[in-house]
């Protein structure tokens, strides 16, 4: 294996950027450096009409370069427009405004449910998390892109201890019962430092989509706390192209994503 000219977090940014379509609207919350960079990069490459809103700042299409880590930074207000937070909440509640919602959690389960609340019982948590902020809107977002920097069997688990960001709930049956009239189509993509995953159409269980260069299937299986759907053919995640890297580094000149 040759020395990589990009970091894993940069690869993750590229994967997310490719997932975004021209003309879509995306939104993200706290600690979203990778999705932020992905959105801006997508704008500069294949999706010039993409819109994105960076969380609590209310900034619409921040110019980013150079990007900053905090989702509420005033640097983000160098942007096309800026909304007061209650207006962002209107957009999130509407159900047809946002195509992509970036989510994550302390725990993410096989149905794509996310947990930002606690590990263990809520009454007596082994670990108290920060809280869920806007994740409950997930069932009203066009589709959900989940990401985590911790691909391990404690993070990717069978069932979240606390559901604070609904994915496919308890699976196909509960999803089709409880979410049938909702605008959201559920989780669509999961991006980790090891691989890319999507969801099996029938079982709604997370499915391996591609392995990052140099990562083995065994590594992924070992580090995943539930039984992933493994397709017959598993491609390798496409490496960042030189154009992608050029734009990503233009956006992330400070190396915030690169060095995560």
């Amino acid at each position: 294996m040759s020395e990589k000219v990009y970091s894993t977090s940069e690869l993750m940014s590229c994967v997310m950027a490719r997932h975004l379509k021209n003309g879509e609207v995306a939104v993200m919350g706290a600690v979203s450096m990778i999705p932020m960079a992905a959105c801006r990069m997508a704008q500069l490459t294949h999706a010039p009409n993409l819109y994105y809103i960076t969380g609590g700042s209310g900034a619409v299409n921040p110019y980013l370069e150079p990007m900053v880590p905090s989702s509420c930074d005033d640097e983000l207000l160098r942007s096309d427009a800026a909304l007061a937070l209650p207006d962002v909440i209107l957009l999130e509640g509407h159900g047809k405004r946002l195509d992509v919602f970036f989510g994550g959690g302390l725990q993410i389960d096989k149905y794509g449910n996310c947990n930002l609340i606690c590990i263990g019982d809520w009454e007596k948590p082994a670990l108290r998390g920060p809280g869920t902020v806007g994740l409950p809107f997930l069932p009203r977002a066009g589709r959900v892109v989940i990401y985590t920097m911790s691909h391990n069997a404690k993070t990717l688990i069978e069932k979240v201890d606390f559901n604070s960001g609904p994915g496919f709930l308890d699976g196909p049956e509960s999803w089709s019962t409880k979410a049938k009239d909702l605008p959201g189509k559920g989780p669509a993509l999961v991006v980790t430092p090891l691989c890319v995953m999507d969801f099996d159409e029938e079982t709604k269980v997370m499915r391996l989509k591609s392995l990052h260069p140099g990562v083995t299937l065994e590594q992924v299986v070992e580090n995943t706390g539930f039984q992933l759907v493994i397709p017959d053919e598993i491609p390798v995640t496409q490496e960042p192209t030189s154009i992608e890297l050029e734009y990503l580094r233009k956006v992330d000149s400070a190396g915030i994503v690169r060095n995560m």
Binding site: A30, V31, M33, G56, S57, G58, A59, P69, S70, S71, C72, D73, D74, E75, L76, L77, R78, A82, A84, L85, P86, I89, E92, G93, H94, G95, L116, I117, W122, P125, L127, R128, G129, P130, G131, T132, V133, G134, L135, P136, F137, P139, R140, F162, N163, S164, G165, P166, L169, K178, A179, D181, L182, P183, G184
Partner: protein, 299 residues
């Protein structure tokens, strides 16, 4: 006759407008931005007890410091953390060890609740789908259900939030309390509209504020504000949008100090209880503050 200025000293503001036991205190700012730290430190100095603390959808050191002071009984929040810098140690410890009572909620609960409190609305019904989390289960007092009279369906509701006092940072105000947010408003303006009493801390009192920015930018009306306190760099170690960026080194130091009781009480003595708020800037140092002023966007 002359208009009456609302500008008073920080100690007088907290003395006069925060009771010894405050039924509910809302604190402005989101993540490490626009936290009204000068007011919060003074609340701690004056040892005001807070029955219910209400944060923005993303509380930060504003909530964590108060919780760490031991003055807070319960917290209504959807997040307390230090974003990319890590978890909020006192919040985490307080919830894990049950020294504080947590009213778990989500971001829309705070936004809807403040909206209802501000507008005299009895409640706000949620959009469908948000009842699918486990949150309503652990907060049945505040999350309830009623009938949508247009469809007959059951809908979840957010209760109105009417803080007794709100502590808010605005960048500038005129002497009568009319004020602006130079950058993001977060939910601070909603807190102002929902609270019974509002104490504003500002970087600067500007006599002709509306002339300077145009009146449509001045969207905090003075009659909602009880006191204006001039506190330059009063958000430190958090940012003040358009004025200065946050102090990452200091925040990391805070997180480290929270690791044991001794170093935390040292932090407290050094920056909170051991000094008057007027001396806080000096404690941080002019050079460091100037460096922070150079950072941050949208001047």
């Amino acid at each position: 006759m002359e208009r009456t200025s609302k500008v008073i000293s920080i100690s007088e503001a907290i003395q006069r407008f925060v009771g010894d036991t405050c039924a509910s205190l809302a604190i402005g700012g989101m993540h490490m931005h626009n936290n009204p730290m000068a007011l919060i430190r003074e609340v701690i100095r004056q040892q005001k007890k807070i029955k219910r603390l209400i944060t923005s959808p993303s509380g930060s050191i504003n909530a964590d410091l108060l919780i760490g002071s031991g003055l807070v009984s319960e917290v209504l929040t959807s997040y307390v953390g230090l974003e990319h810098l890590g978890l909020a140690p006192n919040f985490r410890r307080g919830v894990e060890k049950k020294t504080i009572n947590l009213l778990e909620c989500d971001e829309p609960f705070l936004v809807y609740g403040l909206q209802a409190g501000a507008g005299g609305l009895p409640f706000i019904p949620y959009p469908a789908g948000l009842e699918l989390t486990d949150i309503p289960r652990v907060n049945p007092e505040l999350y309830r259900y009623t009938t949508d009279p247009y469809t007959g369906k059951q809908v979840m509701t957010a209760a109105p939030i009417k803080p007794e006092v709100a502590l808010i940072h605005c960048q500038e105000a005129d002497p009568f309390g009319n004020a602006i947010f130079k950058g993001s408003e977060f939910t601070d303006r909603q807190m102002i509209f929902a609270a019974d009493t509002v104490i504003l801390q500002v970087e600067k009192v500007v006599p002709n504020l509306a002339e300077k920015y145009g009146s449509t930018k001045v969207n905090v009306p003075g009659f909602l504000v009880s006191a204006v306190v001039e506190a330059p760099f009063g958000c430190h170690p958090t940012s003040s949008h358009g004025y200065y960026t946050y102090d990452e080194g200091h925040l990391k130091g805070y997180l480290k100090a929270c690791k044991d009781t001794e170093s935390y009480s040292e932090y407290f003595k050094q920056y909170v209880t051991g000094i008057a708020e007027e001396n806080y800037s000096q404690q941080i140092g002019a050079e460091q503050l100037e460096k922070l002023r150079q950072g941050g966007g949208v001047k």
